[in-house]
Amino acid sequence: MSGIALAGASAGANSLAFAPANPVVLAGFVDALGQFLRPGNLASVFVDGLSKAAIYVMIAGGLTLIFGLMGVLNFAHGSLTMIGAYLGGLLMVTAVGGGSGPVTRLLLFFVALAATFAVLAGLGGAMEVGLIRRLYDRPPIYQILLTFGLTLILDELVRIVVLFYGLQPTSDWQAALGTKPAFLSQSVEIGGLSVAGLDLFEIALGALTVAALWAFLTRTRYGLIIRAGSEDAEMTEALGIDVRRVFTVVFALGAGVAGAAGMLLMWDPAWAASVPLGADTLLPAFVVVIVGGLGTFRGTVVAALLVGMVDAVMTWWFVNEIEFAGLPEMTIFLILVVMLILRPQGLFGVEEVGGH
């Protein structure tokens, strides 16, 4: 993990500075390393990494579910997340109204989360039945193309709605950010370490998502059918299970999870509800899913942790030592590229899946 991170860092540093390493820079680097290794900093970077990982796992969870069973790489996933952010924000803004207390807000959040999940699951199901179903017997490229087209349509529709209701004079929607309970914006002291409340909330929700999906896949009968379907769809069909219907359910589920993730992002000032959020979340989701191995849920969780941690470490380095704003973003894609070179099937991917 750190190997990849350091390789990314040094390559970036060299190509942007175009200068030979001089002693001063080197001394600064050693100083920074010392700073970085201090327990306080290390711990805060760790918490930051965890909260990033939680976000990544929520965005990527639905994507990997859909790919695992159906082999469809859903390009519209980011747009579904974005719709979730707006829808959730809209529900919150309407419900919170005249300044409810923090606990009420939190309760409302979970109600709105369930509603967003339901609406997007419905949308996802409709998409599968109406459009994607027609393409299963074509080469996989056509599914990429179709879902890419859907992205255009969904983004533009949202833009029309946003414009029509005058929601968004600015680039991100401040009203939704305003519904955040105050205690999430404050920092909490844990063992002498100050942690942002929102970070903890994100970590908790991420863990909850992972646990819920995990339990659904391994502990329920339907999860068993889904796993069987992704192992061998034909055989499952031969056992008398309607795999087509399972496809619809999984697609709906994946879309719902995407929406729920969007709902969470709405409160995070680093993301916030905006139309470009679709593209912004889609790419990290792809990276996480591919690094973990397409279609393996375990891989996605591990990859989200990996990417989140590397991202947090790099962000710390580039804020404190090397000034190059784009580099944390760049490291995410460097992880993708390095992973595909070293191990194309991903961390937990099966060779056979990686081959097609």
Binding site: L16, P139, P140, I144, L146, E156, F164, L283, I290, L336
Partner: protein, 388 residues
Amino acid sequence: MYSVLVTSPLGAEMTTVLPDVETMITVFYFALFAMSFDFISGYTGYLSFGHAAFYGTGAYFVVLASNGKIPFVAVDTPFVVLLVLAGLAAVTLSLLIGAVSFRLTGVYFAMITLGFSQVLYVFVRGWDYAASNPRDGPAVLERTEPFSVGVPGVDSLNLAIGQLSGDEIEGLFGLLNFSATEVSYYMVGLVALVCYFAMQRIIHSPFGKVMVAIRENEERAAAIGYDTFWYKLGAFAVSAFFAAVAGGLLAGFQRSVSPENSFYFLVTGDALLAAIIGGFGTLAGPLYGYLFDETVTEFLSKTGEGGGLLPYLRSHLGEGTLSTEVYNGLTVQQGIDTFLNGHAALYVGVVFVLFVLFVPNGLLGTVRDRLGGPVGKEIAERLRSDEK
């Protein structure tokens, strides 16, 4: 042709529907990029989702070279030479990316190329060597004279292109007058046409046949004895070359580039759109696809430059109809503003999805399927068979 149509009895309708000359220049250079995308994606079946990397390389190369920021390339190097150099730079890049990427197939190939291009995009967006404000991208500052297309060294054959600074020609053969924009139109079109023929030539060569063989069944192509890796890499390099030329034309015409209109992955998305609507795996198809895209965009543009829906309706329906309330205080004009103007992406997206579902071969591909073979040849045969 344009002026004939516009001055015809249907003039008003034509101005509304047809794109204006300036848009057509964009269509030319972007269609060239879409063709180069189709060259690799449509003919070998490897979806190069990061093709914008090469387009951006070409565009940045030209702008940086004309700011004297590329070593050993003088500021006043002829534009055509710059295009070729930009192409070669992209070829080098494509060999590096391709050597790694072509070990993968299908979705993975699309993703790794996307990954590479995003790395470049983020890098360029923060690279303060390229521009003082890298997020907005560089503009041509050092080089004051416009870029000209022509034979280097022969002044009379060079014609400058550019949005505001191109050449004008008056009294050619005593008859023809061209405005600066029209000169740019023909010159950019000329470069695009030459590149089109070059790619067409490659596709119809034995090399091109191997590319199609790889698309149809790579294992068989390998079994016959072709080293498919090198063929794929070769095709990728050729495609990168022309993508960079297209990017160079963009930079030459606009005199500035931004990371968003060159390296961003949605630029590749636009090329994909054009290729699918026009015909995936037909080289000329992307031109028609992008022409369609731009026409719809301009027809529904907010400003209504060069015609468009709103100015047309305003002059034909009159204010009375437009300010009629339809629903809850929403007038017709507001309705059009809200749901139509500026939202071309929605309608292009719908058309795109319909094409993916029902017309997988695209406009040109379907025409070819119906007529079987190159259109011109087939029409002649049909006419002959009708005579019997």
